[in-house]
Amino acid sequence: MTIEIQAVDWLIIALYFAAILGIGLYLRRFARTGDDFFLAGRRNSSWVAGLAFLSANLGALEILGWTGGTMKYGMFVSHFYWVGAIPAMLFLGLYMMPFYYSSRIHSVPGYLRLRFDERTRVLNAVSFAVMTLLMSGINLYLMALVFKVLLGWDWHVSMWVSAGAIAVYITLGGLMSAIFTEIVQFFLIWAGLFLVAALGIADLGGPAALLEGLPERMTHLWATAGSAGDNEMGITWMGIALGLGFVLSFGYWTTDFLVVQRAFSSRDLRSARLTPITASFFKMALPVVVVGAGLVAYRLHAQGLLPIPDDPTRPGQPWNDAALPLLIARYYPPGLVGLGVTALLAGFMAGQAGNVSAFNTVWTYDLYRVLIRRDASDAHLVWVGRVTTVVGILLSVATAYVAMRFNTIMDYIQAIFSWVNAPLFATMLLGMFWRGATSAGAFFGLIAGMLASFSIFLGFKLDVFGPGAARVLCFSEAPSDMARNLWQAWWAWVVCAGVTVAVSLVTPRKSDEDLRGLVKGLTPSPDDTRVSWARRPVTWALASLAVLIALNAWFW
């Protein structure tokens, strides 16, 4: 089963490649210093940084995965866009950004160096670099898989052409190129994919008719979260609130350098604080595309109008991730097919470019300059950044080939996400809001949290943990993979926080003078009173929160 691509579709795809390579070439002359190359010159408005912040997270993997996920979990998928994202984004903007931005660091590990010590920075930099490269490789592999199965494109051509294009434009323009292409991707995704959800909903008779034809378990956010058996995800409201809404969400949105780097590129503190707040409004709108298309696919599939193929990596299981491309094939005429495919292509490529631009910064500033050449000049670091981009891309391609041969490795690689981010959030939270957190506490807490997360993952993966352990760890004897993942993040956070506090109580802490500008109580609060209320971050954060509450109440 392949989707037919006509000449006009190829024209649209070719135009996309011409545009991103042209933008890279054009921006080359503006990427001369380290700040230019790694932080886009710290000159972006909150609109630009905000859209890039969102787009860095908005990869095609997420869109395809959650559209398919909606066919399984129903409206519960919206939790990942609403309670599982918005509070963390607002918290980052209002409370954490002043510490990040005011310390003029280049990366999140850079903050760990200032607040704690070099070993904590290196531990986090190494784990982040490995995670980023592996994720980039997986992204590349899955892109080639989707295009191979659905469009009949050759594996090797898909991977090398997209990886080559990314290498060219990031090497030329650095983060600025990545941000420009991420914003282009944002508009392409809305232009190319919103219509498929809209046409599908219209085809089924409108939004009310769509919802009326769905099972009760799929149409609520909280009403079916009282017991794990009442919803398809197999999780309670507590798991959603603690695992997703608190640990995983805050761990990702407030500490993952891939997204936070976009806020660092803002031109001033107010813009940096507004970056995630601006992004939050667009984040809340995404379920229109993702969940909308997923519910349409579920209805059509139930009526026998949308046959779902077998998963190429798990024979015998339905490949729900193919739902969105299949809807494109059903509703889009030539031209629009090209736009839809370009939107997915842009999503894959921008996701990979985001990983590579974050990797080159962390490698250059937190590993190369710390472990290899401490006296490197600014020009030398820019050169290292460019070389690292090419090396990072090649390592991603190598990872993709490994995943192609041994695709069960993907389960492990994707789990790395919660090994790294969940405990790091505990370290950051204690570091920013408690003066008593010590360097030794942070280092050993981080290691303990990562080990706890890894052990729980392996315990379930290798069937060491049975129903009894599942009841203790996940409050359910048969939790879904998703529920396990959320609870695993929670326990990693608890262990990291517990060990950090315990070790900090018996080890020496830094003086207040050393912590100035890095910890609450020793950092001046941002003074918003000089700008009108309409331009204050807190005003927009409250507006965002009101929309979030309204959406949750509406779909309760």
Binding site: W47, L195, R267, P333, L336
Partner: protein
């Protein structure tokens, strides 16, 4: 929407991202409108609206693209 980037060290100012977004949307919009006129949709396509979607969606994208190009050019001078 204000400018994307201020001047670089030698005083050069990059064109705002809105300009590039506008160019791409306008070009894609024009191609979609032309395709809706010229290319017959294959039998697999389920027609939901009376007017081909490429026509009104592409038209909307083209108009939006022109607005973004104008915003981008206007923002550069500020």
């Amino acid at each position: 929407m204000s400018e994307v980037h201020g001047p670089s060290e030698d005083g050069q100012t990059p064109l705002p991202i809105w300009f590039f977004v506008g160019l791409i949307l306008a070009a894609y919009g024009a191609i979609l409108v032309a395709a809706a006129w010229l290319v017959e949709p294959p039998a697999r396509v389920v027609a939901v609206t009376a007017t081909p979607p490429g026509l009104w969606w592409g038209g909307g994208m083209a108009v939006l693209g022109v607005v973004f190009v104008w915003l981008g050019l206007r923002g550069r001078g500020k």
